[in-house]
Subunit: 337 residues, 2 copies
DNA sequence: CTGTTAGCGCATTCAA
DNA sequence: TTGAATGCGCTAACAG
């Protein structure tokens, strides 16, 4: 009942040749006679021979698997990144082992441990919002497992990374709001751990400077991304004497919470208050009053570029060479709705 | 620079004992002297010994990996299912290899091939909407790789499956609409391939019968789940003389398209027309006019139950026994918003 | 209670 | 151009 999976040994026996010849024939080794090679390949196909991956992995000391650590899978943003990683991995005949940190540092640390034990060949990671040290990733160096950070990248030197620069789009976004006549633009920033490359804030500043507008520090508030915290933040903004008429929200999630809260407070969206946001979820097209614009960060491309970089590192490693740290920066785009 | 990973051989040498003794000691084999066992375990810890998974996989002829095939990862629904599968897999020290069929039959077939080549120990699948034959899954039987279908389950005998029954919730949903005074309830059904266990339709019928309402066949329309098709379907309903005042939508996606289209046609949601839907996306809480109710299908639980069933099958297999086909049916719940 | 041995499937080195 | 032999790390059958 169980179909027996053939091995090179059986092919060898049937053809009365040695296993090494079979192995070489199957790999198009140059020093194999055309006749034998053809014979072997023909029989292999007939017998439905398929190399035993577990054996190869064992022999090569590689798993042909890369670990992908994400904060979560719920956000479509990350699931698009997965597709980018998977497509690239597939092209390289690699598997992807996905794990969610659920934005918890200790889970992230455990995942790294698990992946190391499973001997993944390399790791791609978008860090959790609690991650304030990357010691657990640095530890992988000792095992010669390369790591590429992407999207959510820690602000430390000597790492490989791929991320999307938000600076120019942010300037553009704030200037768009100015152009629409908004005098006072608030900014709801995310947790500091995710803000280390504070490009949103820099862009916010630049836009104000370029347009000779003063910055009111009370227009800048912070959320830890929980709904409650976001509501507290927006509440702070709305209760100001001269409250902002437009808001730059850390991401679409924050934007949604902001919009909902503002509506609850009887504010008319896009009239009393406008929102610009980051991420560009497809879902926002279903909103009655969507953000006026979104900053697209190309998660699919970030994922595939990160995977490509990782394969470059793996390739170098197999040639016993070491590449310098590389930091790839993509450019975001402002999408006006 | 590269940290050398110790093996049992080295432990054995250091203690002047044999590798098999080390192996047994590490596995708490009963026939090992307490002293030696302690010694071994102590040294192993000191040396940071970690068993080489690739070697074990090779030796055992197992990958300790299960394949998970999903239509896509974008829908939060499926990402919750992933979490259910992963948590259960983790408890069993298994890895999960995830792939997306993107609702295409040929991709699904290729994925099955790939997973077989990678020698996954078992497969979990929620079929694509094009899947009209499960020959590619049946083929896995010959390799003794068990398959569990879940959520989107084909309507054929002799399979293992886990799904969520929608019948009672659908009756409840339609009766809720009746109770709210709706005389005419339309139904936008999905593609036939996903409708084989037509529980939505059955529930729709039952509710009408129970309440002695005739069924108007023109109130039942079909979408292939693309936006265009959904719009055509709702257009059909809205252009009827006696158009429905409430709609049962195949899922939240269809519900969103329906609501948006109705708004475009200047209908007041929840007044001129109400919607009930399946899936209960968190996102709908952000809508100004969400569906009046949703049928929750517990994707996380479906995923974990499916994984548990698969492990039961794997366990039986390792004992050379074969279990009868099992079909686990969960019950959906109507969530009124 | 412990050691010896064999072997999983494959790639590869060395020898012919 | 091909074959024989080796070993990757581990488990388990068999022997003591």
């Amino acid at each position: 009942m169980e179909k027996k999976v053939p091995t090179i040994k059986e092919i060898a026996k049937k053809l009365n040749i040695s296993v090494s010849t079979v192995s070489r024939a199957l790999h198009d080794h140059p020093s194999i006679g055309l006749r034998t090679k053809m014979q072997v390949q023909k029989l292999a196909k007939e017998m439905n021979y398929e190399p035993n991956q577990t054996a190869i992995r064992f022999k090569q000391g590689k798993t042909f698997t890369l670990g992908l650590i994400l904060p979560n899978l719920q956000e479509e943003y990350f699931s698009l990144a997965i597709s980018g990683v998977e497509d690239t991995a597939f092209k390289n005949n690699y598997n992807v082992l996905i794990s969610q940190s659920h934005d918890l540092l200790d889970r992230e640390q455990k995942i790294v441990e698990t992946m190391r034990k499973h001997r993944v060949d390399g790791v791609l990671v978008s860090i959790s919002k609690q991650t304030n040290s990357i010691a657990h990733f640095k530890q992988l160096d000792e095992y010669n497992i390369p790591v590429v950070f992407f999207d959510r990248v820690p602000n430390v030197p000597d790492i490989h990374s791929v991320w999307c620069s938000l600076y120019y789009s942010t300037v553009e976004a704030v200037e768009l709001l100015f152009a629409k006549g908004h005098q006072r633009v608030g900014y709801i920033q995310g947790p500091l751990s995710l803000n280390i490359k504070n490009e949103r804030l820099e862009g916010y500043h630049t836009a104000h400077e370029k347009n000779k507008r003063p910055i009111n520090q009370s227009y800048i508030v912070t959320t830890d991304l929980s709904r409650k915290s976001t509501e507290a933040a927006i509440e702070k903004l709305l209760s100001l004497n001269n409250r902002p008429t437009a808001i730059l929200a850390f991401n679409d999630n924050v934007a949604l919470d902001t919009i909902q809260y503002a509506k609850k407070k009887k504010l008319k969206i896009n009239k009393d208050i406008s929102v610009v946001s980051y991420a560009n979820w497809p879902i926002i097209s279903y909103l009655d009053f969507p953000p006026v614009a979104s900053v697209e960060q190309f998660p699919y491309e970030q994922g595939s570029r990160a995977a490509e970089l990782l394969f470059k590192l793996l390739d170098a490693k197999s040639r016993e060479s070491v590449l310098p740290y590389e930091n790839i920066v993509l450019k975001s785009e402002l999408i006006v709705h």
